[in-house]
Amino acid sequence: MARTVKTIVLTGNGTNCEMEMAHACRLAGSDVVDIVHISELLCGGKRLGDYHFLNLPGGFLDGDDLGSAKAGANRFIHATIRGSREKLYGQLVDFIRDGKLILGVCNGFQLMIKLGLLPALGGDYATQTVTLTFNDSGRFEDRWVYLKTNEDSPCVFTRGLRGMYLPVRHGEGKIVTDNPDVLKRLRAGNQIVMQYSDETCEKAVMEYPLNPNGSVDAVAGICDESGRIFGLMPHPEAYLHYTNHPRWTRENLPEDGAGLSLFRNAVDFIKNVF
């Protein structure tokens, strides 16, 4: 059992949800939670390998100027650690190889997709096979959505969870693939972890605005085959307390927000495995 769970929340270049994501990790019981600016990694001051749990928060990496997280992915792939030939990407590959956890939300999910970290079919973490593109509505929207979770998914983060209500806040959240085979394999491997759904959280839907972006198969979040790497468009870190819920003044809600359970599962997993 891991004596101390160490979490890194990566920020910089336009990331903006690091504070609440770190808060979620702390509430979930992580002993160490460091918000680390990417420049700290690039100058060698911090290393990914020192942590168990990597959080890639939402935001607008480089303004999403070349498409969401495109320039951010380019940096991750090509940037080297100062004073060495070591690539930052190498640290990421090692992190995955060591069986550690990665959670990407919104822009963090976009980054993972564009890096090829997800869905990583056949364990190929370097080839992009799906993408996240502009919502069918053509606009950025902030709205809460119902989510159906896949109980058969290997995803570590959603173990024991059935349904969820979280906000989306994005303009590029529509999952698209150019290869029907990819979708088949995602379904078969239960890598589709979360889908936009109706209010029962049981029936995936394509209709706007329940499905806020027109994502294929109503996909909201996917994991890799191991279930340890998970990305989603909705923001679990935005629902940590009942006062975050849009209708908390009219509904009886538990003290903790539903989003917290994803982080709890992650921390529990690390405690048990490491």
Binding site: G14, N16, M19, F60, V176, T243, R247, T249, R250
Partner: protein, 990 residues
């Protein structure tokens, strides 16, 4: 050698931007197009091999799943008209900058290329060249900042496509300092002011001329090689510092005010005698409990949040630039106001934005005067600019509103407000004040300096006219700013600098000039300033308003660490000089002095303006329309009015939840679509202490009396805060006056009246802020919101935005406006009088009237305190303020937001002098709320409300029908809540 990389969507992939563009062409321009496809173009300057170009195109510049790319050949095909839109030279190209960095990183060669972006719109449809021209100039390109090319199918070279175009800035790099002879005639002085956009009057230039004749001044100048003539840098610097925008000359002027009886009195500075004086009085009453920490002296006001943290707040406007380029103007407005709280005290982390826009109707269908953009284009552009500025900065937009009046056609008002939070102490030192010690190093961080934003301060100190400079328009870059603020917050917490301020209006001349007053002088070298491109004159470097820059005072021993941290975090930081106690604002370009001005003269040399005001109360026609037969239909018509209807489509496009502390959102209720009165956030996630943010604005009342307009705006901002659970205990205000020119002149013959309107609004501000104990902690004014071109003059209605920010002890006690349960009792708090002057109901019938709503602050204050007690005791299920459209609108909103019906008896509504049901429904009397409570809470609630105007007027019902019985008992409204909501939602559903 220049190359073009084009990126488009693959066959079969939806191009939503193209679809949206096609829709806009049809809706905005009425041109029928069959379809639009978009192609992103990267024009790349630099020595790249074919393989490298392909690596860039297939790497960071395109998405392998949905896009295709072409290098040095066109992608477009099968169109009728191709429109390519790119930037003009020198305009900020954020995407180009990101692409340049990405390619540099990809190739391992930093700075290997320059990248310029443009976008192609391949249009299908039989629209003719004329149609293509109209689409390009009327929708796709703003010719002030963009250029476009139109190519027809017949002239298309499908092998070569569009030739690369490089919008590089090419200026002779010949920096020099010019001397200007002021010993000339008045006409020539005026010409100097006009041609340089100085916005200085002849009298003001004469003060400068006199200064330069002072012997001691001349002796000082001699020591640095300057003579008796003013340099261009000095004149420009004085013009910035003395501009209305920076100096608030009108608010500080000596005013002779004559009232309607002909009695005159002398007012020495409205700012001192009304605004500052009110705050001083309130702080005195607070005594030891004074929670104001810094008022009026810094970029924003500061109040205490708790023992550990302070709150910071500022609201600004960015009207003139938004009139010319709505997107860039508004984007710059929001990222600009962000830097105010960021540059206050030791600097604060930004925690919320609040925006208020005033536009003409987006459905305007009359011909437009020259240089005016269609209000729909302004609406879309401003909305998008603030979306990009706010969302990309990671600051939640928690609250705001849209106000419509045809007179905002000449100049839209774009109010952007930002709040921040700072630790109360850093390394034991308080953070709310600023100190600079001579010898501290002047460092500029963030973006580089270009010609963008030159003369922004002086340009906005004039009306919009033919010669309004296009360089005043610029495009903000939220990511460069975010990188800078990420860095500076770390530097702040390591205590690496002594003071910070932002570079806004007036550029370095203002930022360094104002900081230098803290120590008594400065010495800067403009040659060290990083430039976007060569060729800027020293005076241009000094006053450029290029965005995303902060100036700092760094102790010499901390410079190295400060600069190293900046380099590590990839933020540019440059030493420009040192702060001194020489008493001189000393500016050099290399060794050569280009400005040498006494600090005293620069900041205090301008004598007060003397102005005259005469109040003549207007009389408007009294309305005479019969009470409508069908008040249900009237209610729906009112719900659909621009100033009342749902703004959901705008609100949803702003991230209102980032940072994780959202407690009361802008949209609330059973379907998350009811109109919230105010926002509540938790800026520190491990406490339930919260911040409430609200606004009040009611320019229509200015047509009758600005005194009551201001009183109502203040009351609205206060009662909105109270409605969600805020209290009068710790509520601070920000005043933001947007006026039409109140200085009488040939082109402004009713200046006396407009200045009297300003005086009256300020008196109300004094009366009501002191009555409520809500001190203004900062504010802003924008005094020239007129449009004068040719024979057309359009002046905005005098507009005061009053914004409030307060502390809420426990966000878990906050309430929302939606009815919660069937069977709950509906109360109205406050009295309804026949106060329909300036109301939406009268406006619907084409009248203004005269009975403007008046605020009884003493009575309201007691009511607000009682309501706060009731909310604190958790007796209130819902609470909604009555504002535009009055009680009828508020009741309907409470009902449909809750998803329930209501049975209401107007006969039970506390009222005075009202005999018509429509007046009772739509009067806009202030200080009223609609409250619902559970029947179990009745006794306790009524006990707290005893002695206040408060009555139970009905119940919440389960069946979804909204029923009102008139004063006689007769049913006057019976509508399904679905139909009411639909009427409310459909107007701005785009």
């Amino acid at each position: 050698m220049a190359h073009r990389i084009e990126v488009g969507f693959r066959q079969g992939v939806r191009d939503v931007l193209g679809e949206k563009t096609a829709r806009k062409i049809v809706e905005h321009l009425g041109i029928d197009v069959a379809g639009v496809e978009t192609i992103e173009v990267y024009t790349i300057e630099g020595n790249l091999t074919g393989d490298e170009l392909t690596a860039a195109a297939g790497g960071p510049l395109s998405d392998p799943i949905i896009q295709e790319y072409a290098v040095d050949r066109p992608l477009a095909a099968g169109f009728d008209w191709l429109i390519e839109v790119g930037f003009r030279p020198g305009v900020t190209d954020n995407v180009g900058k990101t692409a340049r960095e990405a390619i540099g990183l990809l190739l391992g060669r930093h700075g290997a290329v320059q990248v310029y972006t443009s976008r192609q719109y391949a249009v299908k449809g039989d629209i003719g060249r004329d149609g293509a021209e109209r689409i390009a100039s009327g929708l796709l390109a703003n010719e002030l900042i963009q250029r476009y090319e139109i190519i027809g199918r017949d002239e298309w070279d499908s092998a070569r496509g569009v030739a690369p175009y490089i919008p590089r800035v090419i200026i002779d790099d010949n920096p020099s300092s010019e001397e200007i002879d002021l010993a000339v005639s008045d006409e020539e002085l005026q010409a100097i002011s006009n041609s340089r956009v100085l916005a200085l009057t002849v009298d003001e230039i004469k003060i400068i001329r006199e200064y330069l004749r002072t012997e001691s001044v001349l002796r000082g100048r001699e020591t640095v090689g300057l003579g008796s003539q003013i340099t261009d840098a000095e004149l420009e610097c004085l013009a910035q510092t003395w501009s209305e925008h920076c100096k608030h000359k009108i608010f500080n002027s000596l005013i002779t005010y004559e009232d309607e009886q002909g009695k005159t009195e002398l007012i020495d500075s409205l700012f001192s005698s009304c605004i500052k004086k009110a705050t001083k009085k309130i702080r005195k009453v607070l005594g030891d409990d004074d929670w104001c920490l810094s008022v009026f002296v810094d970029n924003a006001g500061i109040i205490r949040f708790n023992d550990k943290y302070n709150l910071v707040f500022k609201v600004e406007t960015h009207n003139s630039p938004s009139a010319l380029d709505p997107y860039g103007g508004a984007l710059t407005g929001i990222v600009g106001v962000n830097r105010d709280p960021f540059g206050t005290g030791k600097g604060s982390k930004l925690i919320f934005n609040t925006d208020v826009f005033c536009f003409a109707s987006p459905f305007h269908d009359a011909p437009l005067p020259p240089r005016i953009l269609h209000p729909r284009r302004i609406y879309d552009g401003v909305r998008e600019g603030v979306e990009h500025g706010g969302n990309k900065s990671g600051i939640p937009t928690v609250n705001g509103c849209l106000v419509f009046d045809e007179r905002y056609l000449g100049k839209p008002l774009v109010y952007c407000g930002t709040g921040g939070i700072m630790p109360a102490r850093i390394q034991g030192e308080p953070t709310h004040s600023k100190k600079i010690i001579p010898g501290d190093v002047i460092i500029m961080t963030g973006g580089r300096i270009g010609k963008d934003g030159i003369h922004g301060a002086t340009f906005s100190s004039e009306e919009l006219h033919e010669g309004s400079p296009v360089t005043a328009v610029q495009i903000g870059d939220p990511i460069t700013q975010k990188k800078m603020t990420d860095f500076l917050l770390i530097a702040r917490d390591k205590n690496l600098y002594r003071a910070i301020t932002d570079n806004g209006a007036g550029g370095l001349s203002s930022s360094v000039g104002e900081m230098a007053t803290l120590c008594g002088g400065c010495d800067i070298d403009l040659k060290k300033a990083p430039l976007k491109y060569a060729g800027l004159q020293p005076w241009e470097i000094l006053i450029s308003e290029a965005q995303e820059r902060m100036s700092l005072a760094v102790p010499p021993e901390k410079c190295e660490v400060f600069l190293a941290l900046a380099a590590k975090m990839d933020v540019e930081a440059t030493i420009l000089g040192t702060f001194t106690d020489s008493g001189i604002f000393h500016v050099r370009y290399g060794e050569k002095t280009v400005a040498y001005l006494d600090m005293q003269f620069l900041h205090e040399g301008l004598p007060k303006m003397r102005l005259f005001a005469r109040w003549t109360p207007p009389r408007h026609e009294e309305p005479d329309f019969p009470e409508p037969e069908d008040l249900g239909r009237a209610l729906k018509e009112m719900l659909g009015r621009l100033n009342i209807c749902s703004k959901e489509s705008v609100v949803r496009q702003y991230d209102h939840e980032v940072q994780g502390g959202s407690a009361i959102k802008p949209l609330v209720g059973a379907a998350n679509d009811g109109p919230s009165d105010a926002a509540v956030i938790r800026p520190i996630l491990d406490t339930f202490e919260g911040v409430v943010v609200a606004n009040g604005i009611c320019p229509r009342y200015s047509d009758i009396d600005t005194y009551h307009m201001a009183a109502c705006a203040i009351d609205e901002a206060v009662r909105n805060a109270v409605a969600v659970g805020g209290s009068l205990d710790r509520l601070a205000g920000i005043d933001n006056f947007c006026w039409c020119d109140p200085v009488e002149s040939d082109k402004n013959p009713d200046g006396l009246y407009k200045l009297a309107q300003l005086v009256r609004a300020n008196r109300a501000l004094y009366d009501y802020t002191t009555a409520y104990g809500v001190p203004c902690i900062s504010g802003k004014d924008s005094m020239k919101n007129d449009y004068i071109i040719g024979g057309t003059k359009i002046s905005i209605p005098p507009t005061l935005l009053f914004s409030t920010m307060g502390k809420i002890a426990d966000v878990r006690k906050a309430v929302t406006m939606d009815a919660k349960r069937p069977g709950d009792l509906v109360y109205v708090l406050g009295e309804t009088c026949e106060e329909l002057g300036g109301s939406e109901w009268f406006a619907l019938h084409g009248f203004i009237g005269n009975t403007v709503p008046k605020v009884n602050a003493q009575r309201a204050k007691k009511l607000y305190r009682a309501l706060s007690r009731a909310i604190d005791s958790r007796l209130v299920a819902s609470c909604h303020d009555c504002s535009d459209g009055g009680l009828g609108i508020a009741l309907a909103e409470v009902a449909f937001a809750g998803g329930f019906g209501m049975d209401i008896a107007l006969s039970d509504v506390p009222r005075e002098g009202i005999t018509r049901d429509d007046y009772l429904l739509f009067s806009e009397s202030q200080s009223r709320f609609v409250v619902t409570i559970s029947p179990q809470a009745k006794e306790a609630f009524e006990e707290i409300m005893a002695g206040h105007t408060c009555a139970c007027i009905g119940t919440v019902t389960s069946e979804g029908i909204f029923r009102i019985a008139g004063m006689s008992g007769k049913a006057i409204v019976e509508q399904s809540i679905g139909s009411l909501k639909e009427a409310w939602q459909k107007t701005l559903d785009f």
